[in-house]
Amino acid sequence: MRRIVFPGELLSDKRITSRGIYVENGKSYAALIGFYDDEKEVFIPLEGAYEPNVGDLLIGIVSDVKPNGYVIEVGLPSDTFMSARDFREPLGMGEIIVAKVKSVSETRSISLADPAVLKGGNIIKISSVKIPRVIGKKGSMLSQIKDATKSKIIVGKNGWIWIKGGNEYLATKAILKIEKEAHTSGLTDKIGEFLKNNENGDEHVGQ
């Protein structure tokens, strides 16, 4: 059974290594709000900033252009730099890229590799801990959104999601709904229904 736990709550008398858990005197405690499964000893945070890991796919934007490369913003407290040599063509301010985390330093600054430039589109930002739910089991959630909206969507582990074309409004609404309800069960079905009900509907908001 999984239960919702809060910072300071005792999770186990053993040492468990996981994000959102700290160990003191051999016992494990929650450091974040999240779900803990006592049997599987798995902790899933419900809130938390992006913590970079090597291999993560990130969405970033060019926030400054230097003589030898680009300052890339990815939503971390410090920006990262990419050499102009990593790109085939020169980039301009505000261009959107997708790239992989190549390394993470002791002070949590990162370097990026294998970039691709994304032309046009919009970026929405959600909490990075909700990203696994946006992707879903084996990508099931993401593919049902793509199918229903015909939008191009690339999900960054940093919580930045690039959306272009198709029913961008519906894709955005669906992703924000997943972020809001990430902790509930049966989410894939709920979103499936939401997409179906709103596919053609111009629900009117405002007053």
């Binding site: 910072p7 300071g8 900033a49 407290p77 809001k180 309800e181 902790h183």
Partner: protein
């Protein structure tokens, strides 16, 4: 702490608002009510109404204060000009609010796992919308819930409450009137997991026995405050569940 002899604050063992000596005022906490901030909480406690919001980890400012080993925790406590029933106050920081900001920040630093975010900054903003005695403790409770709501890793959810001495008796969670006419005030913040003392101030005159009685009252009420913090956070998720 004027210690006015003419006003009776305790009659037949009960306080003017009908409370027992070791009874807290009603406390209500709402988590996550602001959208732009990473985390937020509103604490309504007696006549206090206090809003706390958290941003972070963000880029450290000013940059020369960035630390390669841990994040900087910046805490700002401010009293609104309309927080008191009396005249309209002055906006902006003063000596009192600057001291309280520091004391609250240091208390929070004990539980916030700052070493997780080298060179970054975590910002805690506290606005006292209504003040009615015990604002620093209510502020700490608000900040504690807002930090958890923001997903800042913490070793515990700290709690805080003050005890005081009125009519020669130790009392828990003094109201503004009791504070004004009381003889001592002891605001304390605790980590409920192990009762570590994170914030401790004392103002007035007390015997050693009275002081430790005050601490007893505070320790005894800590689990209830902690329960209300946890419930507020839990509710922030349940509500979206119901939609």
């Amino acid at each position: 702490m004027s210690g006015n002899e003419n006003i009776k604050l305790i009659v037949d063992g009960k306080r003017l608002d009908g409370r027992e000596l070791d009874e807290m005022r009603p406390l209500k906490i709402t988590a996550g009510l602001l959208n732009k901030a990473d985390g937020s909480a509103l604490v309504e406690w007696g006549g206090n109404k206090i809003l706390a919001a958290v941003y972070g980890p963000v880029e450290c400012f000013p940059r020369h204060e960035s630390n390669p080993y841990k994040a900087k925790l910046s805490c700002r406590y401010l009293m609104s000009p309309f927080a008191s029933k009396d005249e309209h106050g002055r906006a902006g920081p003063n000596r009192r609010s600057i001291e309280l900001s520091m004391v609250l920040g240091k208390a929070l630093e004990n539980v916030v796992m700052l070493e997780k975010y080298p060179r970054a900054m975590i910002e805690v903003f506290i606005e006292v919308l209504q003040a009615s005695g015990g604002t620093r403790c209510a502020s700490l409770v608000a900040a504690s819930v807002a930090l958890a709501n923001a997903g800042i890793p913490m070793k515990d959810l700290p709690v805080a409450v003050a005890a005081g001495k009125i009519d020669g008796k130790v009392c828990l969670d003094c109201s503004k009137d009791e504070d004004n006419f009381g003889q001592a005030d002891v605001p304390i913040a605790l980590a409920p997991r192990n009762n570590d003392i994170l914030l401790l101030q004392m103002d007035g005159l007390m015997t050693k026995d009275e002081f430790f009685k005050a601490l007893d009252y505070i320790e005894k009420s800590a689990p209830e405050i902690h329960r209300l913090e946890v419930e507020a956070l839990r509710k922030a998720y349940e509500e979206t569940d119901a939609q």
